[in-house]
C-alpha cells in the first residue's frame, strides 16, 4: 500500500469540490500527476495542487492506494465519492458527500462531517469519529434505491434524515439521532446507541432499527409485539420489539406479512 498525503496549504475562498480525491483516481499516478487532477471552486476548475501540497505517489491499483488529508478540510466536499477500494484518512473535519456512492474501501474521518455523507452507498466502510450532519447514509433525491450495503459508523451524533430509503447495509450511530430514521426503508439496519428524537421508521416497509436510549415521540404506526434478546453490534441485550409502519404497505413472504422491526433496549 502506497500513501499519498495531501496537505491543504492554500485554502479556497469558496468550497472545493474534490470528487477526484479517491484511491481510484490516484492509483497509477505520480505525485505531480495527482497534483494536476481537477478540482472545482464554483465555476473555476483548477489543479488539485493549487490548494494542496501532494506528497507520495499512488499505488498500482486503488486497493494499494491510501490517501491522507491534512489541514482543515471543513470546506472540501466529495472526498472519496464513488471510491471502490483503498483507504482515505481525513485527519480533521470534512464537508459534504464524504463517501457518497462509495462501493468499497475505507474512509476514516477523525473530525466531523457535514450532510449527505455515505449517500447512495453500496459497499465499503465509512467511519466518523465526530458528528455527522443530515442525510447520513441516505438516498439521493428521488432515488428509491437507497443505501445498498457497507457500514457507516459515527461515534458522535447524527442529524435528521438518516438512512432514508435504506435497502441494505448497516449504520451505527454512537450518540443521538435527530428526526427521521430509515424513512421509506426497505431493508438494512440502523443502530442508534443514544436517543432518537422521533419519526423513527416512518413509512418503512422492511428493515431493522435499534434504539438503545429513548424515542422522544414514537409513531402511532408502530406496535409492540414481544420482547427479545438479541446480539447487536457485538453485545447481547434485551429489547422491546415493535413492528411497523402499520400505515405502510408490506410484502408477504411464505404467506406471512413482513414488517419493519423496531427494537428499543430494555
Amino acid at each position: 500500500m502506497k500513501t499519498v498525503t495531501l496537505t491543504l496549504t492554500n485554502p479556497s475562498e469558496l468550497f472545493i469540490e474534490g470528487q477526484n480525491i479517491t484511491p481510484d483516481n490516484f492509483a497509477g499516478r505520480k505525485a505531480a500527476e495527482i497534483a494536476a487532477l481537477d478540482v472545482w471552486e464554483g465555476k473555476q476548475k483548477s489543479p488539485l495542487g493549487k490548494y494542496f501540497t501532494v506528497e507520495g505517489d499512488g499505488g498500482a491499483t486503488a486497493e494499494e492506494t491510501k490517501i491522507v488529508l491534512r489541514g482543515d478540510c471543513t470546506r472540501v466536499k466529495r472526498i472519496g465519492q464513488q471510491m471502490t477500494a483503498g483507504e482515505i484518512v481525513i485527519e480533521g473535519n470534512a464537508d459534504m458527500y464524504i463517501g457518497g456512492w462509495m462501493k468499497g474501501g475505507k474512509i476514516h474521518v477523525k473530525g466531523n462531517v457535514d450532510s449527505f455523507c455515505g449517500i447512495g452507498m453500496e459497499g465499503g466502510e465509512l467511519v466518523v469519529d465526530g458528528n455527522a450532519a443530515h442525510h447520513l447514509g441516505s438516498s439521493p433525491r428521488g432515488e428509491w434505491r437507497g443505501m445498498q450495503g457497507g457500514v457507516i459508523r459515527v461515534a458522535g451524533n447524527a442529524g435528521n434524515d438518516t438512512a432514508t430509503f435504506i435497502n441494505g447495509g448497516t449504520i451505527v450511530i454512537g450518540g443521538d439521532a435527530d428526526i427521521h430514521i430509515s424513512t421509506h426503508g426497505e431493508g438494512g439496519t440502523v443502530i442508534v446507541k443514544g436517543n432518537a428524537k422521533g419519526r423513527v421508521g416512518g413509512q418503512m416497509v422492511k428493515g431493522d432499527i435499534y434504539v438503545y436510549g429513548t424515542i422522544e415521540n414514537p409513531l402511532p404506526g408502530f406496535s409492540m409485539v414481544d420482547e427479545v434478546e438479541q446480539e447487536v453490534d457485538g453485545e447481547t441485550a434485551r429489547f422491546a420489539h415493535y413492528i411497523g409502519d402499520l400505515g405502510e404497505r408490506h410484502p408477504t413472504s411464505k404467506g406471512k406479512t413482513v414488517y419493519a422491526n423496531l427494537y428499543t433496549k430494555l
Binding site: 456512492w101 439521493p140 433525491r141 428521488g142 432515488e143 428509491w144 404497505r249
Partner: protein
C-alpha cells in the same frame, strides 16, 4: 440561400419507390430540387452511404405537462446519467429516460429525425406544450390534443351529433394549435375522475352513458367528415393487461366500413398506437403470452389501418400516459412513485418510473411482442417504429430497435441475456422468425410511412423535388452491410449528415447548427355553428376554471408556425 448537392449516395425513398439507387440529391432555398436546377452548389460526398429523408416520428411524448412531471419528479434520472454539454451545441443536455427539451431536439437530430408528433396534448395545457416546443431545438413539432374523454365530445357523440362534434373539434384544434385527434383509453380516463375505468370497449362511461366503441366510431366519422391530414390516433382501452388482444381486435374492427376522405394522401382511418402494449394473451401474469400474430394477421388484411410498435427496449424508463387508471394500476404493481394529473372536462394523466428488466419474464415477453409486430408486418408503410417514448423505452433507443429488426443475430444476442429465455420463447413466436428487414423497409417504417399516415408526405418523409430539404445520411453501405449488428446501431444513432431545411445541421454525429424549428398545426374552416358556440360558452362559464378568452392560445405563444389548412365549407 446556399445550394447543396449530396452526391453518389444510395438513396432510399419509398414515397418515390427509390430502392437504394445511386443518386444525387439537390437542395436549394431549403427545398429539394432537381440537380440541374443548381448553379454552384456546395457538394457533399455520400458515396458508400445510405441517404434517406429526415426521420418522422408519429408518436412520442416529448413536450407538455406530463412529460415535464416525468422530468421534475425524477432527479435520479439525471444523476450520473446526463452527458456533458457538447461544445457544438448551445445548451446543456440533461436527463436520460425523460430528456430536457434541448436534449430531445439534439438527440433526434443526431439520429437523423426532423419531425416529431407529440402524442398527447391536454388542451387546457396547450400554452405549456407550445412553450416547450419553443425550447426544443431543430426538430419540427406537432401536438395532438386528446379527445377521447372530453365532455363536449362525449355529449355530442352520445347524441350522434357528428356535425357539432366536428365544429367543436375544429374549434379545439385552432384553440390549441393542435394537429389531429388523439384518443387515449376512450371513456376510461373520464371514469378515472371517479377512480374507475372502462374495462372493455362496451362498458359505458359513468354518467355520460356512451361506450368507448361509440366514442371511437364517432371520432372516426368526425375525422373523415372534416377530412383532416391525420386519422384518429388511438391508444386503445385495456392497455398493458393480459388477454387484452381481444379488446384490441375489437377496437381495430371499429374501423371496418370506414374509408378515408382527405386531400393529403392518407389511406387509413385509424392509427392504433403502441400496439405492443395491446397484443397480450393469457389471463394472468403467470400465463402471459404474445398474441402479436393474431393482431397483425388482422392488421395485414385491412388497408384502412396503420399501427406503430411501442417497442420495449429493456431499459429503466418513465411511463407516462393520459391513461390515468393504467398508471395507478402500474404503481400498485411496482410501488414506485406515482404522479397523477386529472384535467378538468378533458383528460387525465399518470406518470410512474418503470424498469424493463431482462431478468423479468413479462418484460422479455413484451420485448418479443413488439418485434413480432414489426416482423409480421406485411406492409411496412403501415407499421411504424416507435418506443412510445418514453413508455416502452427512450427514443434514443430507436437505433437498437432498427438493429433488432434488421438482424436475427442482434435479436439472438439480446435473448441470450434473458433470465427466462425458455419461457419467453414458449410464450412468443420470436424465436421462430428469421425475417430481417432491409434499409428500404426501415425507410418505410421511420419516414415515408409515418409521413403518409400523418398526411404530411407532400412535405416530410421523402426526397422528391419541392419537398423540405430534410435529408439524413447514414454511414451504411447497402452493398456491404456490416456483419456486426452493433455497427448498424452505431450508424443510425449518429448520422453522418443531417440537412434540415437545407442547412447542414448534423455532421459526423455532432450537431453543428440549430436551424429554426417549426410548429405544425391544422386549421380547419367549418361553417358557423351557433349551438357549439353556445355550448363552449356555457361550459366555460360554469365548469372550466379558466376564462374562455384565456384558454385559446394567444398568437404570441405560437412559435414559427406552419399551418395546414383544411376547408370543409367548399
Amino acid at each position: 440561400m446556399s445550394e447543396l448537392l449530396i452526391r453518389n449516395g444510395f438513396v432510399f425513398d419509398p414515397l418515390q419507390g427509390i430502392k437504394g439507387d445511386r443518386m444525387d440529391i439537390g437542395v436549394k432555398d431549403g427545398k429539394i430540387v432537381e440537380t440541374n436546377a443548381l448553379s454552384s452548389p456546395k457538394t457533399i460526398d455520400a458515396a458508400g452511404m445510405t441517404v434517406m429523408a429526415g426521420g418522422v416520428d408519429i408518436h412520442s411524448h416529448v413536450v407538455g405537462p406530463k412529460v415535464n412531471v416525468g422530468r421534475l419528479f425524477r432527479p435520479e434520472d439525471k444523476l450520473f446519467k446526463s452527458p456533458h454539454k457538447s461544445p457544438t451545441c448551445n445548451r446543456m443536455e440533461m436527463g436520460c429516460s425523460v430528456p430536457s427539451t434541448f436534449k430531445t431536439g439534439y438527440d433526434y437530430a443526431r439520429m437523423g429525425y426532423v419531425f416529431v408528433n407529440e402524442a398527447a396534448m391536454p388542451p387546457l395545457h396547450s400554452p405549456h406544450v407550445h412553450e416547450e416546443i419553443r425550447d426544443t431545438p431543430i426538430i419540427d413539432n406537432a401536438a395532438m390534443p386528446v379527445f377521447g374523454n372530453n365532455w363536449f365530445t362525449l355529449e355530442y357523440l352520445k347524441n350522434n351529433e357528428i356535425e357539432n362534434n366536428a365544429a367543436y373539434t375544429a374549434w379545439l384544434l385552432r384553440a390549441t394549435r393542435g394537429f389531429g385527434l388523439k384518443v387515449v383509453n376512450p371513456g376510461g380516463s373520464e371514469a378515472w375522475g371517479w377512480g374507475l375505468n372502462c374495462a372493455n370497449i362496451h362498458e359505458s362511461v359513468p354518467y355520460f352513458d356512451i361506450t368507448p366503441a361509440e366514442i371511437v366510431k364517432g371520432l372516426i366519422e368526425t375525422n373523415e367528415y372534416l377530412g383532416l391530414p391525420h386519422s384518429v390516433h388511438l391508444h386503445a382501452n385495456n392497455l398493458g393487461n393480459p388477454g387484452n388482444y381481444v379488446d384490441t381486435l375489437e377496437s381495430l374492427k371499429l374501423a371496418e366500413g370506414y374509408a378515408p376522405k382527405n386531400d393529403f394522401g392518407r389511406d387509413q382511418v385509424l392509427h392504433l398506437t403502441h400496439l405492443q402494449f395491446h397484443s397480450y394473451g393469457g389471463d394472468s401474469w403467470g400465463n402471459f403470452e404474445s398474441r402479436a400474430k393474431d393482431v397483425m394477421d388482422y392488421v395485414n388484411t385491412r388497408d384502412n389501418l396503420t399501427v406503430d410498435m411501442g417497442q420495449v427496449t429493456l431499459d429503466e424508463t418513465t411511463t407516462m400516459t393520459a391513461d390515468g387508471p393504467f398508471e395507478h394500476h402500474l404503481c400498485s404493481l411496482n410501488h414506485l412513485k406515482w404522479a397523477n394529473v386529472d384535467v378538468e372536462l378533458e383528460t387525465a394523466a399518470g406518470v410512474v418510473p418503470y424498469i424493463y428488466s431482462p431478468k423479468v419474464k413479462v418484460c422479455t415477453i413484451q420485448w418479443a411482442v413488439g418485434l413480432e409486430i414489426g416482423l409480421y408486418a406485411k406492409d411496412p408503410m403501415r407499421t411504424f417504429i416507435t418506443t412510445d417514448h418514453p413508455n416502452a423505452g427512450p427514443f434514443t433507443r430507436y437505433p437498437q430497435v432498427i438493429t433488432w429488426l434488421m438482424s436475427r443475430a442482434a435479436r439472438d444476442a439480446t435473448m441470450k441475456t434473458f433470465k427466462w429465455l425458455d419461457r419467453t420463447i414458449d410464450a412468443t413466436s420470436i424465436d421462430g422468425i428469421d425475417r430481417e428487414l432491409g434499409l428500404y423497409e426501415i425507410a418505410q417504417m421511420t419516414r415515408a410511412g409515418p409521413a403518409k399516415a400523418l398526411g404530411i408526405s407532400n412535405t416530410y418523409g421523402g426526397l422528391a423535388p419541392g419537398m423540405d430539404a430534410d435529408i439524413a445520411v447514414y454511414a451504411l453501405n447497402p452493398e456491404d452491410m456490416p456483419s456486426d449488428p452493433a455497427m448498424i446501431e452505431k450508424a443510425f444513432a449518429r448520422c453522418a449528415l443531417l440537412v434540415k431545411d437545407g442547412i447542414v445541421t448534423v455532421r459526423d454525429g455532432e450537431v453543428v447548427a440549430e436551424p429554426a424549428k417549426r410548429t405544425v398545426w391544422v386549421d380547419v374552416k367549418v361553417p358557423e355553428n351557433a349551438q357549439v358556440q353556445r355550448d363552449i360558452y356555457e361550459h366555460f362559464l360554469r365548469h372550466y376554471s379558466v376564462k374562455l378568452d384565456n384558454y385559446s392560445l394567444f398568437e404570441e405563444h405560437l412559435h414559427n408556425p406552419r399551418v395546414i389548412e383544411v376547408d370543409t365549407t367548399q
